[in-house]
């Protein structure tokens, strides 16, 4: 055996080490959404605020966050201040999807807590949510100007969510 061959194990080992290190900080239970890289599913609904018709085509041409929320959802009240912060500082547009909710309580909720949403899709039956692969509110999607879903976050968003998770994706 010569020196070249006996160095081979080192390189194999370094390769494996790289993957192990990368795996260390990932949560193995996170399953990436199959919708990432795909377009928003087709839907037709109305706006909670203006009662006008809303379809998936109305959202093309800009990057935005789509936040799945409901007035019955405890996690949504936890993340609400962080959404307002994004809205107040004009970081990125936020649209809402009011998931399996009652119109009146949804509007009351916005009135008392403030409204970070530029517009809100009504999804009383939860059908749009199913197409989006939602398994519980709150969830937050990042969608780019071509209507492609870039990112999905499950659970309440934390302070600095925009800077940590969204900005790097938009800068790519």
């Amino acid at each position: 055996m010569n020196y070249k061959i006996s160095a081979l194990p080192i390189f194999i080992f370094l390769g494996i080490l790289y993957f192990l290190y990368n795996g260390l900080y990932e949560d193995p239970t996170v399953i990436p959404s199959p919708l990432i890289g795909k377009t928003l599913p087709v839907f037709e609904s109305t706006s909670l605020i203006s009662n006008k018709a809303l379809t998936n085509k109305d959202f093309l041409g800009k990057s935005y966050l789509l936040n799945i929320w409901a007035s019955w959802c405890y996690g949504c009240s936890l993340e609400h201040d962080n959404l307002l912060d994004i809205y107040n500082n004009d970081k990125i547009l936020i649209y809402g999807l009011n998931y399996k909710d009652d119109k009146k309580s949804a509007l009351d909720w916005l009135k008392s807590k403030g409204n970070p949403y530029s517009d809100i899709i009504v999804d009383t039956s939860g059908d749009i949510g199913i197409n989006l692969g939602v398994y519980g509110a709150p969830e937050t999607f990042l969608i780019n100007s071509d209507g492609l879903i870039l990112f999905k976050h499950v659970g309440p968003i934390s302070t600095g969510f925009y800077e940590k998770e969204i900005l790097p994706l938009l800068l790519k």
Binding site: M1, S6, P9, L20, L24, P28
Partner: protein, 650 residues
């Protein structure tokens, strides 16, 4: 107070380990006899202090000392005493303590049973053990201390995970760990040899017994794990290619390869550099397995905790130890390469093939296990490869190895004439084809060609191993059958029993995989199921209250040709504290078949989902494993003196 003593003792043993390690740096200045004696004493002390802290932790469990966080999380007043004791290694902290205890035990044994190798090698080996011990002790003290206190002290503990409250799991972890950690012995030997830069062939005979011992415990530990899964998980499987199972299986494959390459190294003085690399590889896989289990990077039924800090600690250690070892290997191994001629019909070549395929199999399983990490690192989505990948790749790579086992038995070193192989093997080959054909096609009428192949290979292996023993019996000069049997060298028994065991395992796997009858159905009280000539009647379910769980016990009456034989009592247990529901399957076994009944979900007051499996010959799996272990025992305790007389016969 007592837990604090445990803590102090762990710290003391860490300091002693550091002393032991430092012996490697004072080679030039201190006399070898002094270093040798010192290293022996240090090894005893390390073992003693770790053993006492282990006993103190056990004592804390047995006396329900819930002021310890670890005890509070993993025990309970109402837990049976035997499970209180096994709860010591029931979760992360304690199982790492067990790891280090076993490591110190191996270290202690090396210091005692090493009279046949030079003192300088022994001291180097113990020193390297010292750094391994030091790391794991620091790991315990800084990230996973089982002696941590909790305040306020809870009145009762959160109970041991009900999955672990099973007799099989009392000894599965210790056995597995003894094997797992035993891979450190060939590793420290390899490093000591690399440091020295030369080797005497007689030292390899010494190493081989340790490798067999490690192999034996790994085999036993893995078998116990499978046996437990078969009885406890309730879906009749015994192997799931779970990352943690793979983590114990990869070192097993690597050490099996090592076992065989060491034979060549010992007898012919070649493959030495390769054996050393395999030793490093085996231990690396062992460390890698520890990392996979402890860091939680992969999803597994064995997941203990997802803790990146612990993972990083192990990963750093793993990189340093393995990186340095491979670097040392790169520098020194070319000196340990020797060439000797051997032909394609020689035993050397057969064992080379064995090693080649075993190593490829190990890497194929490694690739499959790490695939989710690799694919997510490369941004091609997080994809797991499941059982189909492993089953395919494993059987495809195993078939050639098994096929070569029989000719390998009858080849000689250097070169074998085709006539000799032909004479010995032709008849056996022919009989094996006929027997396996009868089995596969007449008794079981299979549609699958692979079943024919697998059964043929198993029969071929068993028959040729038997033939070898019979050949030797016929050539001995002893007159009585008992003296004849005793006169057969134990290495022949070791080899033959282990190979027959492999044959049995293949038969067990093949029959139970391809010819099982599986019924998963809804049964009402009074319903009957008929399989072949047997029928099983669901009589009812009764509630039984036990110390720490409530069991719903099904009653199934089993009739053979309309005669009542026995009743099955599969259980659904709800554990009071952790609120888990556990399945206890009821199994009736004999050589020819297992009948396996497990209760599924309750649908209404008198209707249940029931799983009834009929598995032919699955017992052969366990018998095969037992034979392999028996073979290992012959290998360890056998006499090696007679080896030379038979070396031509080998």
């Amino acid at each position: 107070m007592i837990p604090e003593i445990g803590n102090i003792f762990l710290s003391i043993s860490a300091s002693i380990s550091l002393c032991l390690f430092s012996l490697i740096f004072i080679k030039r200045y201190v006399d070898i006899n002094f270093r040798y004696t010192l290293s022996k004493y240090l090894s005893i002390f390390i073992f003693f202090f770790i053993f006492v802290s282990f006993l103190l932790l056990s004592y804390a469990f047995l006396t329900d000392d819930f002021s310890l966080r670890y005890v509070a999380n993993n025990s309970n007043v109402s837990l049976e005493n035997v499970y209180k004791f096994s709860a010591v290694w029931g979760a992360h902290e304690g199982s790492i303590l067990l790891w280090v205890l076993v490591l110190s035990l191996w270290n202690f044994f090396i210091s005692i049973y090493s009279k046949t190798i030079p003192k300088s090698i022994v001291v180097d080996m113990l020193s390297i053990m010292g750094i391994l011990l030091l790391f794991f002790l620091l790991f315990i003290l800084f990230t996973s201390n089982p002696f941590d206190r909790i305040f306020p002290i809870p009145l009762n503990g959160r109970d041991l995970n009900p999955l672990l409250q099973d007799p099989g799991l009392i000894i599965h972890p210790p056995m597995l760990y003894i094997g797992y950690v035993g891979t450190s012995v060939p590793f420290v030997f390899a490093i000591a040899i690399l440091l020295k830069g030369n080797i005497n062939i007689s030292w390899i005979a010494w190493l081989r017994k340790w490798v067999i011992a490690t192999w034996l415990f790994l085999t036993f530990g893995i078998t116990l794990g499978s046996w437990w899964a078969y009885h406890e998980l309730g879906w009749g499987g015994w192997w799931f290619w779970d990352p943690v199972e793979n983590a114990s299986f990869m070192p097993w494959l690597a050490i099996t390869a090592l076992l065989h390459s060491l034979i060549v190294s010992e007898k012919r003085g070649i493959f030495i550099s390769w054996s050393i690399l395999l030793s490093i590889l085996t231990f690396s896989l062992s460390l890698l397995g520890t990392f996979l289990v402890r860091s939680g990077v992969l999803v597994s039924v064995h997941a203990f905790a997802n803790d990146p800090e612990r993972g990083l600690f192990i990963l750093l250690f793993l990189s340093v130890v393995i990186g340095l070892s491979l670097g040392l290997y790169y520098v020194k191994s070319p000196k340990l390469v020797f060439y000797k001629k051997y032909s394609i019909t020689s035993k050397e070549f057969m064992l080379l093939m064995n090693n080649l395929f075993l190593t490829i199999t190990t890497f194929a399983i490694l690739l499959g296990t790490l695939y989710p990490l690799i694919s997510s690192s490369l941004n091609i989505g997080k994809i797991s490869v499941g059982a189909p990948y492993f089953n395919f790749i494993f059987s495809a790579l195993m078939l050639p190895i098994i096929f070569l086992m029989s000719p390998a038995i009858f080849t000689s070193w250097k070169n074998t004439s085709y006539n000799k192989i032909q004479k010995k093997l032709f008849k056996i080959f022919f009989y094996s084809v006929i027997i396996s054909y009868i089995f596969a096609n007449i008794f079981f009428s299979t549609k699958f060609f692979i079943v024919n192949i697998a059964i043929f290979l198993a029969v071929f292996t068993v028959l040729s191993s038997l033939k070898r023993i019979i050949d030797i019996l016929n050539t001995t000069k002893q007159n009585f059958i008992i003296t004849k049997i005793i006169s057969v060298p134990s290495y022949v028994y070791a080899n033959s029993l282990a190979h027959i065991g492999i044959g049995f395992v293949i038969l067990g796997i093949t029959f139970s995989t391809y010819f099982s009858t599986q019924n998963e159905l809804v049964m009402n009280f009074g319903d009957k199921v008929n399989i072949k000539n047997i029928s099983i009647k669901f009589s009812g379910v009764k509630n039984i209250v036990s110390k720490n769980y409530i069991s719903q016990t099904g009653i199934f009456d089993y009739y053979e040709d309309k005669n009542y034989v026995l009743s099955f009592f599969p259980e659904k247990r709800s554990y009071n504290i952790q609120k888990n529901v556990m399945t206890e399957a009821a199994i009736s076994s004999n050589l020819f078949r297992d009948i396996y009944i497990a209760l599924g979900d309750k649908l209404s007051e008198n209707s249940w989902v029931v799983r009834i499996y009929y598995k032919p010959f699955i017992q052969l799996l366990w018998y095969g494993a037992a034979l392999m272990i028996l073979g290992g025992l012959f290998g360890i305790f056998g006499r090696y003196k007679s080896l030379k007389n038979f070396s031509d016969e080998l």
